[in-house]
Amino acid sequence: MTRKILIVEDDDETAGYVERGFVEQGYGVDRCADGREGLFLATDRAYDAIVLDRMLPGLDGLSVLKALRAAGVRTPVVILSAMGALDERVRGLREGSDDYIVKPFAFAELHARVDAQIRRGTAADEAPTSRLAVADLELDLLSRKVTRSGRPIPLQPREFLMLEFLMRNAGRVVTRTMLLEGVWNYHFDPQTNVIDVHISRLRQKVDKDFDTALIHTVRGSGYMLSAEV
């Protein structure tokens, strides 16, 4: 089934860039440049996710979002904005957005986040689970124990959180920023690529002694935990 995405963005260049990106990834994309039209489309059709700019003609992004949520539309919304200050981010999330990306952004980052939101939207319907499993890797959320092929893997608390984050997004790209936000709750960019070192430690424990690697590096984007190479 093709996933459908609505892009509400008045900058033609950016909208085109995002559209091309999603089309290449096999999504169906609708595009509009006006807040009112965006709101109309979003309430009228079923999208899997909406990419919403903040500054729009007609109706600004936050108002669109508010109206959507008021109308009971629960489609995941990722806000795209040049307003990057933390308070702006908080406002966006408070109005009911699911994620907030600051311009300029890499498409890989947007894709990963939209993907994560779509997945979260469907996962919310499933029963809450206390166990995550990918191939022979198992993670028990209650006892906080991780095993691979039945062998226990001792993890530091932070490593456990990282692995949990990767496993919840198994099969999808997880960017460094997503890890920083999801595991450390940091919204700034540390000057050094600290995340890479954390990942390589996690790899040492999860992949080193096994034939198949589960944690993959996706060039230019981030990481992916997946049974397939």
């Binding site: 990057g84 608390p157 932070r158 709750n185 540390p190 070192v197």
Partner: protein, 487 residues
């Protein structure tokens, strides 16, 4: 060019004039009331005195009549009436038919019944138009004969005149003082307001260094001047900061952009191979990322310095912030052969911006991992001087004379390090410190550099609500899984 209206106010709009007017009116009213009361009391006393005199004289004459008879009374009355005294006594004795028997009054005034009571009556002197006020008592003697004794109440008039005159003098003095004081006051105030306005204009036309003179008297104007000077200093600081940023941005953003342009030019040359183009594109993307990163950091600093984010401050534990950051940097430090030592077990409560503080501490630790030789010490303590996070490395350190400059934007003290970072790390930390009302202290770690982020502590007031080791950080809890992993 000079907006004159700033100083030359129309007089009725002047606060001084209005204040002086209001106080003059109030004082006039008060003086009126005081003099009125005084007058009323004085009149009362004078009249009482006259009334008493008349009563005793009447009593005397009645007794005289009782002992020596009518003729003697008439003689006495006649004698007394003839003596001119200042008190202007009035006497009259009439028979049962109202005929005057003796005295200096022509006829019995009808408003004075012969009952011995004190009455006031206006009488005319012969040949005069103005009545004079007389206080009198009448008394009926035997056989319809009536006796009247009175006194002119002209003392009352004298008092009236005296008090009226004093009132005029008092008002004249008051109004003179009001006008004089008003002029003096408004001169003083206008001069000082004028001074402030003049300084403002100078600042407006670009002389940012001008300050309002403070006289040291500690009055309202001094306080106003001091707070204005603080504001002007802040404006100057921001302007200088802005200038530095624009200059530096001009330089630091232009160079990667130029580099980028050259790369793209080369890739476009006809002879370029596919591999070369690919490499040029990769480099171009890296250049753009670098530039964007630089911009982002500059904006971070600008936002921290603007103070706009004060609204997002909350109570948090600086020690937990430090622990989380160390947790983030530990692996990379280890990879570089460094050991991080943390002592941040006691809660260090501060009111702060969680994200910016984490970013600041992370910048400090990040710097330390770049310069340390073998170890980094991170410490979060609360002391008498405030809450502090200290990050010390055992690297080359910074000579004391350069420490001041280290927190400026785009300053890289070590030219050989110019490849690493944009030289904005410490200036962000300094900006965050300022945002929190704290400071950044650089010192010698012997060997190496010790940087302390000092913030106002909440411990003094909140000692009881935040016990040691109790985390109030909004960041993810670190200690929750400790036991499980250890076991």
């Amino acid at each position: 060019m000079v907006p004159a209206h700033v100083v030359r106010v129309q007089w009725w709009r002047s606060v001084t004039v209005r204040l002086v007017l209001a106080s003059t009116v109030a004082s006039t009213l008060m003086i009126g009331v005081v003099f009125g009361f005084l007058y009323w009391r004085a009149i009362g006393v004078v009249e009482q005195q006259a009334s008493d005199t008349v009563a005793s004289e009447l009593r005397g004459l009645v007794e005289h009549f009782g002992s020596v008879g009518l003729l003697e009374l008439m003689r006495t009355v006649q004698e007394r009436s003839a003596v001119p005294t200042e008190a202007e006594p009035v006497y009259l004795v009439v028979d049962g038919l109202g005929n005057r028997l003796a005295g200096n009054l022509l006829a019995w005034p009808p408003t004075v019944p012969p009952d011995g009571r004190w009455r006031k009556v206006e009488l005319y002197r012969r040949g005069e138009d103005h009545p004079i006020l007389i206080g009198a008592r009448g008394y009926e003697l035997a056989g319809g004969v009536r006796l009247l004794v009175g006194r002119a109440l002209d003392g009352r008039v004298k008092i009236q005149d005296a008090i009226g005159e004093s009132l005029l003098w008092a008002l004249a003095a008051l109004w003179t003082m009001a006008v004089g004081g008003g002029i003096l006051l408004s001169r003083t105030i206008l001069r000082r307001v004028g001074e402030v306005a003049a300084i403002n204009r100078e600042v407006m036309v670009g002389e940012l260094g001008r300050r309002v003179p403070v006289r040291g008297s500690g009055d309202e104007f001094d306080r106003l001047a001091a707070s204005m000077n603080d504001m002007l200093a802040r404006i100057e600081e921001l302007m200088v900061g802005m200038r530095t940023v624009t200059d530096s941005v001009g330089h630091d953003i232009r160079s990667p952009l130029t580099r980028l342009r050259n790369r793209l030019e080369r890739a476009r040359l006809p002879g370029a191979t596919e591999a070369e183009r690919e490499a040029a594109l990769d480099d171009a993307v890296a250049d753009v990322d670098l530039t964007l990163d630089l911009l982002g950091r500059l904006l971070d600093i600008a936002r921290a310095e603007s103070g706009l984010q004060r609204g997002e401050m909350s109570e948090l534990d600086l020690a937990a912030v430090a622990r989380d950051v160390v947790d983030l940097y530990e692996p990379i430090a280890e990879d570089r052969g460094l050991r991080i030592e943390v002592s941040a077990d006691q809660a260090v409560p501060v009111s702060g911006h969680a994200e910016l503080l984490a970013q600041a501490v992370s910048n400090l630790v990040d710097n330390a991992t770049k310069y340390a030789r073998s170890q980094i010490r991170v410490e979060a303590v609360v002391g008498a001087t405030g809450a502090r996070v200290a990050v010390a490395d055992d690297g080359p350190g910074i000579p004391p004379e350069d420490r001041e400059r280290a927190t400026e934007r785009f300053v890289r003290l070590d030219p050989s390090r110019s490849g690493k970072g944009a030289g904005l790390g410490l200036s962000l930390v300094a900006a965050v410190a300022r945002l929190h009302g704290g400071e950044l202290v650089l010192s010698d770690a012997g060997p190496g550099l010790k940087i302390e982020l000092v913030l106002p502590s909440l411990a003094a007031v909140d000692d009881e609500t935040i016990g040691p080791g109790q985390s109030i950080s909004p960041a993810a809890p670190t200690s929750e899984y400790q036991d499980v992993v250890a076991g």
